[in-house]
């Protein structure tokens, strides 16, 4: 009898452990982390080219994550990409002349929105638009420029 009960207890613990692991994986290692954040406010920004930017990509200021991309739409008249950013309420001191740019982490990493703070005493409010934006740097464009201007890299290559 006592033997049986210990199986039941052990099995119960095992199942709890399994579900705890699942809960951990689902909530702490996935995009649920970003969806779950509490209060936030939105900003808008227009880009002529967003590159590979995706929904829920991080928004960073000085390398620290302060929010995420909520949605990406095409503005039919202006033929611009309208990106809605969701910024954590804690970061409500961002100067309203700050600029936003689409950046890449590493050479081939994911793209994110970087905010470069300006100097205005006024801060962004909910629904404001970020006027100063810089579009994604396209790798193809870079390579194109590189080919047209001759290859400055040749010198480097011969060094070793």
């Amino acid at each position: 009898m006592t033997q049986r009960r210990s199986y039941a207890v052990g099995t119960g613990l095992f199942i709890v452990l399994g579900f705890a692991a699942l809960a951990y994986l689902a909530t702490q290692t996935t995009s649920l982390v970003n969806v779950r954040h509490g209060d936030s406010y939105t900003l808008k920004a227009r880009f002529t080219n967003i590159g590979q930017l995706k929904d829920r990509a991080p928004v960073k200021l000085a390398g620290v994550r302060i929010g995420s991309v909520q949605s990406i739409q095409l503005e039919p008249q202006k033929l611009d990409a309208l990106v809605t950013l969701s910024i954590d309420k804690r970061f409500n001191q961002i100067p309203e002349d700050s600029s936003a740019s689409v950046l890449t982490s590493g050479l081939l990493g994911d793209q994110y929105i970087g905010i470069q703070p300006g100097g205005s005493p006024d801060s962004f409010k909910n629904g404001d638009e970020v006027i100063l934006t810089q579009s994604a740097v396209q790798l193809e464009d870079l390579i194109g420029k590189f080919l047209v201007n001759g290859s400055p890299g040749d010198k480097d290559k011969k060094k070793p």
């Binding site: 052990g10 095992f14 689902a26 996935t30 590493g106 990493g109």
Partner: protein
């Protein structure tokens, strides 16, 4: 038993066994409602197949995560993408390595013991004795192990994956010095709950658990009642399960893409 003749084409034999195991499924399903009466037995079998496999699953999960982080870090370094180490560890573990390695370990640890146990019960007339005591051995012995395996496998996959993430973090952040915040934020912005965690860990885990335990109980139940028969049946459990896991993994992945 001309076991020696059969041993030559273990792979062909393994494939045939997978088919036979499939034919065993209706018998199991038919016995399923009756075995709900043996709830205690199911609990006991979850303990034996699941909880008793925890140590090996956790150890292997930790090392898989560690070696993945180590390898990926050095590859990603070439492209300046070490920040993605955590992401790639998580994605490869959730989608492939977690379910597949767990299932292979499960077949070796729990599957073989299920086969040997049922085979020995057959060889020592314990199954006939149950029949004689008006207890259906399929409902009492076979299905509870089957159900337990199906429940235990996804849970083991979760534990394995969590340990792998832990191992990846240990090597990536603690040892190789990736920034902790970068490691997590990169991972959390690229890993999806449904597409990666649920599809990979849970659905694949369930599918592999079903196939491995089905093969294991079938091998045990139909083994020739001799010590050689039981020994050979455990070997076939491992071979047939491994083939089934890897083939099914390909099919499932193709469907999930």
């Amino acid at each position: 038993m001309n076991a020696r003749v059969k041993r030559r084409n273990l792979v062909v034999e393994g494939l045939a066994q997978i088919g036979d195991a499939g034919l065993f499924l209706p018998t199991l399903l038919a016995a399923m409602p009756r075995s709900l009466r043996y709830f205690r037995e199911i609990v006991r079998q979850i303990w034996f197949t699941g909880a008793m496999s925890l140590i090996i699953i956790m150890t292997c999960g930790l090392f898989v995560g560690m070696v993945l982080a180590l390898q990926l870090y050095h590859v990603l370094e070439i492209f300046g993408g070490t920040a993605s180490t955590g992401t790639v560890v998580a994605l490869s573990v959730y989608r492939e390595l977690g379910p597949v390695v767990t299932a292979l370990l499960f077949a070796g640890r729990a599957g073989t013991s299920i086969t040997a146990e049922i085979g020995l019960m057959r060889a020592t007339d314990q199954l006939s004795a149950m029949e004689m005591m008006a207890v259906d051995p399929v409902a009492y012995v076979v299905t509870p192990r089957f159900i337990a395996g199906i429940i235990a496998m996804p849970l083991l996959c979760c534990v394995f994956s969590a340990m792998a993430i832990f191992g990846g973090h240990l090597v990536g952040v603690t040892w190789l010095g990736i920034d902790n915040g970068t490691f997590w934020s990169n991972m959390t912005s690229n890993v999806e709950v449904w597409k990666d965690v649920i599809d990979g860990v849970i659905w694949k885990g369930l599918a592999f658990g079903t196939v491995v335990t089905l093969i294991s109980v079938h091998q045990g139940y139909t083994t020739p009642p001799t010590s050689e028969g039981v020994a050979y049946a455990t070997t076939r459990t491992v071979v047939a399960s491994s083939i089934a896991i890897l083939a099914l993994d390909f099919v499932l992945t193709a469907f999930m893409m």
